[in-house]
């Protein structure tokens, strides 16, 4: 029998007289002990659907249709009834473990709060239950962790604590909203394993929301594919993956960056190289602020990139990839040699570097954060022209128009604002801002991570085309090995500031030398290898 039954659910948001239909006529069931995955790209309405199951949406949302949980109608139910269901029968895990925990409370306090509220447990009984829960979610030595604050835990551990909180009252349904998206690939795998195991041992149902099809294949019994607020296809996981019927599902499944970069001609000139580049942040202590130690963000990185070549930098969060890139751009201070176009610029002043800035540009990860919301696209793209002379025309509007066309946008977008564009279009705008200066070196800091899979593929194609046309040198930073494999000629693997492995694309991917690289590969390609 079905535990959660959603019938013809509609959710509208109205603002300034505009009505946005976020969810349109969605119907699905979650049976006891079953895992159902809601899959879709950003904006498809999957999170809204999940939140509306226990009326967690804000006041501006108009919800209609029917949602029954264990036979009881949830839409329009009194707040008191809903509160009893929330946290007790239905628990939530959210995407961001950083902000889901209160930074001012210890683990014990946070877990005890929910236990006291729903079960009336206090004192030793509560403590015992907390230890049991922490043990269950795989936190080692839970006794020593009780008085820890969230910032003392790693991202994976925080997500485990979140899961422990969700499990505290023995829920029948666990709603997990992108629980692994913010985590590194190796930790992702651990969390998924944990969830699958808990589902078995606790007899729970799981409503799993994600954009990542790899996760769906690993964990779900049934899949609902959502697009623009509607469920376009639903069925058992194996069937959907083997035989997708709806064209959208087919696009989703096919969306994977493929191909290899063009070969680099042997006479290509070197654009940049570093020798033993070190970035240490001093730790100061005591009254006189003496330096007592260093945070070693990057230890002795030696890299080189030639014209038309892509160097992929791979590693988990905190491994120093971005720091290295910022140091090469001379945006943060560093020690060691940086040679850019045969000029040693590691000890140049900002004023002296300024003219060189047009030759080295950077594209950031978050297309929503990297464009000033108060400037038009034309102003954003043209900003660099105010500082640098660019060959090939003195009319800024024409240059902007040409560059927009080059990155696959149209010139009439010039007078619109960034918020009117999708993530992929914004990333193209960010690329246009860098490309208008005709740089020699383009640093790409996770340019595809914040994008949907189908859009990722397009951006990868665009980057490859730009490289071919302008013989650009790329420094491509990513934790996503699939994208790196599709774009890079050479790969550097970083771990906690050290370069642990470096080599050509083929060497690294077909014959990884270190354990760490093998773990990364297993996490990224593991399920595929199994499937093949």
């Amino acid at each position: 029998m079905s535990l959660l039954q959603v019938r013809n659910l509609n959710v509208n948001f109205s603002q300034d007289g505009n009505v946005v239909r976020a969810v349109r006529g969605v119907s699905f069931d979650v049976n006891k002990g079953e895992t159902v995955a809601l899959v879709g790209e950003s904006g498809s309405g999957k999170s809204v659907t999940a939140l509306s199951t226990v009326s967690l949406l804000e006041g501006t949302a108009e919800v209609s249709g029917s949602i029954t949980y264990d036979g009881a109608e949830m839409i329009g139910a009194p707040e008191k009834e809903l509160r009893r269901v929330r946290g007790n029968d239905v628990s939530f895990i959210f995407q961001e473990p950083m902000t889901s925990l209160n930074p001012l409370h210890t683990l014990e306090t946070q877990l005890a709060e929910s236990l006291l509220l729903h079960q009336g447990l206090r004192g030793d009984a509560a403590k015992e239950r907390i230890l049991e829960l922490l043990h269950k979610v795989g936190i080692r030595d839970p006794e020593t962790r009780l008085n820890s604050y969230p910032h003392q835990l790693s991202g994976g551990q925080r997500q485990r604590v979140m899961i422990a909180m969700a499990l505290a009252n023995g829920p029948e349904l666990l709603v997990a909203d992108e629980p692994t998206t913010a985590l590194d690939v190796t930790i992702q795998a651990q969390i998924l394993e944990l969830l699958a195991e808990l589902k078995r041992s606790e007899q729970m149902s799981l409503l799993f929301i994600t954009h990542d099809l790899g996760i769906v294949r690993r964990i779900a019994d049934r899949v609902c594919v959502m697009k623009d607020g509607e469920i376009v296809e639903t069925g058992p996981t194996a069937e959907i993956f083997a035989n997708p019927r709806h064209p959208y599902t087919q696009t989703l499944l096919a969306a994977e960056p493929t191909g290899r970069p063009d070969a680099v001609p042997s006479f290509a000139e070197e654009v940049v190289h570093t020798k033993d580049l070190k970035i240490w942040f001093p730790i100061k202590a005591g009254f006189l602020r003496r330096t007592v130690g260093h945070v070693k963000a990057v230890n002795s990185a030696t890299i080189d990139v030639r014209q038309g070549e892509t160097l992929g930098i791979v590693g988990e969060s905190g491994s120093g990839k971005t720091t290295l890139a910022l140091a090469i751009m001379r945006l943060i201070s560093s020690e060691g040699q940086i040679v850019f176009q045969n000029q040693e610029l590691h000890d140049w002043t900002e004023a002296r570097i300024r003219p060189l800035r047009k030759d080295m540009q950077i594209v950031f990860q978050d297309p929503f954060g990297s464009l000033s919301p108060r400037m038009t696209v034309g102003q954003i793209v043209a900003e660099g022209l105010g500082v640098h002379e660019v060959a090939g025309g003195h009319d800024p509007r024409k240059l902007v128009a040409d560059t927009l066309i080059e990155v696959g946008l149209t010139p009439d977008m010039m007078d619109r604002y960034p918020h009117e564009f999708s993530g992929g279009q914004r990333q193209r705008i960010a690329i246009a801002r860098a490309m208008i200066l005709r740089p020699k070196l383009l640093i790409l800091d996770e340019p595809t991570s914040a994008l949907d899979m189908t859009v990722q593929v397009q951006i990868v194609d665009l980057l490859r085309e730009l490289q071919r046309k302008h013989s650009l040198a790329y420094l491509f930073i990513s934790h996503d090995l699939k994208v790196v494999r599709a774009l890079s000629h050479k790969v550097v693997v970083m771990k906690q500031g050290d370069v642990v492995e470096a080599g050509t694309n083929d060497e690294i991917f077909s014959n990884p030398q270190t354990e760490y690289t093998r773990t990364l590969m297993a996490a990224a390609f593991g399920e595929e290898l199994v499937a093949e």
Partner: protein, 373 residues
């Protein structure tokens, strides 16, 4: 066609502001009152706006005319409120005005003078609705302060000056003082906060300690001391209030800059090689504006009350200046004249409420999470 093209974001803010009816109407009422008060000289003045004397037009509101100009004896400025002076102007300078002005004015109006005197020029005066300026001492019957009557709508104060005129001028002075001080403190505060937040580190550390010391200076004592050395004046107060008031905004602006300097679009601008000054102005400052606007109502109402408080204590503007604080002080001294207290209270209450309503609307309009039906 619109004169100013607003960005979509500002259009949304304007729509949100107008959706708040209370704020919207408060804005218009305030603008109307303030607009009127800007022309206070035409509303309440002891000189006529226009005078026609022997066929010539004079504008006493703007110009100095000696008494002699209108057939009087002295080179001092004509006292237009005297009935003799009015008689001289209306009758075209007949010497008998000094003896029986009332009869002559009447005769001039019913046309009998025209027949009896050769070369007669009928003149006229156009007065503002209130024939007193803020410093006009009027001849009242009985003792000052006098209760409201037909001549003095809100009565007179204890030096027999018209309260209505003083309120009109006082309102204008308060608002102008506040606008100047708020603008000056905001500019200094935003600049200081921007520099601290953007550069951070040692600059920030030293500047913060300086601000801590500076805010510890007892403002009131300084003002009393300075007032004892210099002549009290409007601009002296503006300078003093600005010197000790600019710290209010530093905190929020600094916090916004600290946050925004690590934004990716700020990094991108740095990577483009754009100078710090331009980045601060073009990319970071707009972020700080919302926080600034949220604090602005507190600064504005604080400045109004600050000025009134100093006036009340007697350390504010010179005693002849039209000041609402001074009116409050008089109300305290003359408890038997309740019209003084009521006038002061309602002027402050209406002025501050209107401002608070307006800025409440502004703040809500800038809140991206707030939605309006």
């Amino acid at each position: 066609m619109a004169l100013i093209t607003l960005s979509p974001l500002n259009q949304r803010r304007w729509r949100n502001f107008t959706a708040n009816r209370r704020a919207f109407w408060s804005l218009w009422i305030f603008l109307f009152i303030f607009g009127l008060s800007l022309f206070a000289e035409f509303l309440a003045n002891d000189r006529p706006i226009v005078v026609n004397y022997r066929g010539e037009i004079y504008t006493p509101i703007f110009n100095f005319y000696p008494e002699r100009e209108f057939g009087g004896d002295f080179g001092t400025e004509a006292v237009y409120r005297d009935i003799e002076m009015q008689c001289l102007i209306i009758t075209g300078g007949i010497g008998e005005c000094w003896d029986e002005p009332h009869t002559l004015i009447e005769a001039a109006h019913n046309g009998s003078l025209e027949e009896s005197i050769e070369d007669f020029h009928q003149g006229w005066l156009i007065w503002p609705p209130i024939r007193y300026s803020y410093d006009t001492i009027s001849n009242i019957e009985g003792s000052a302060p006098s209760a409201p009557d037909a001549q003095h709508w809100l009565g007179t104060d204890d030096t027999a000056r018209d309260v209505t005129a003083r309120v009109i001028y006082g309102f204008r002075l308060s608002i102008l003082f506040t606008i100047i001080v708020t603008l000056a403190t905001s500019v200094i505060g935003i600049a200081a906060g921007a520099i601290q937040g953007y550069f951070g580190g040692l600059t920030d550390l030293i500047f913060q300690r300086f601000i801590e010391i500076w805010s510890g200076v007892p403002t009131l004592y300084i003002i009393i001391i300075v007032a004892a050395i210099f002549q009290r004046s409007f601009w002296l107060l503006v300078i003093l209030m600005t010197i000790f008031g600019w710290m209010a905004l530093v905190g929020v602006v600094r916090a916004e800059f600290l946050r925004a300097r690590n934004f990716e679009y700020v990094r991108a601008a740095k990577a483009l090689g754009i100078s710090d000054r331009v980045i601060m102005y073009r990319h970071v400052l707009p972020n700080a504006m919302v926080a600034t606007l949220t604090l602005l109502p507190f600064i504005i109402t604080g400045t109004i009350s600050g000025l009134a408080g100093l006036d009340f204590l007697g350390f504010g503007l010179p005693s002849a200046a039209p000041s609402l604080g001074e009116l409050t002080l008089q109300a305290k001294r003359n408890l038997t004249a309740p019209w003084l207290g009521f006038t002061a209270f309602f002027t402050f209450a209406i002025m501050l409420s209107l401002l608070v309503f307006i800025f409440e609307g502004v703040r809500d309009a800038f809140d991206p999470r707030k939605t309006f039906k």
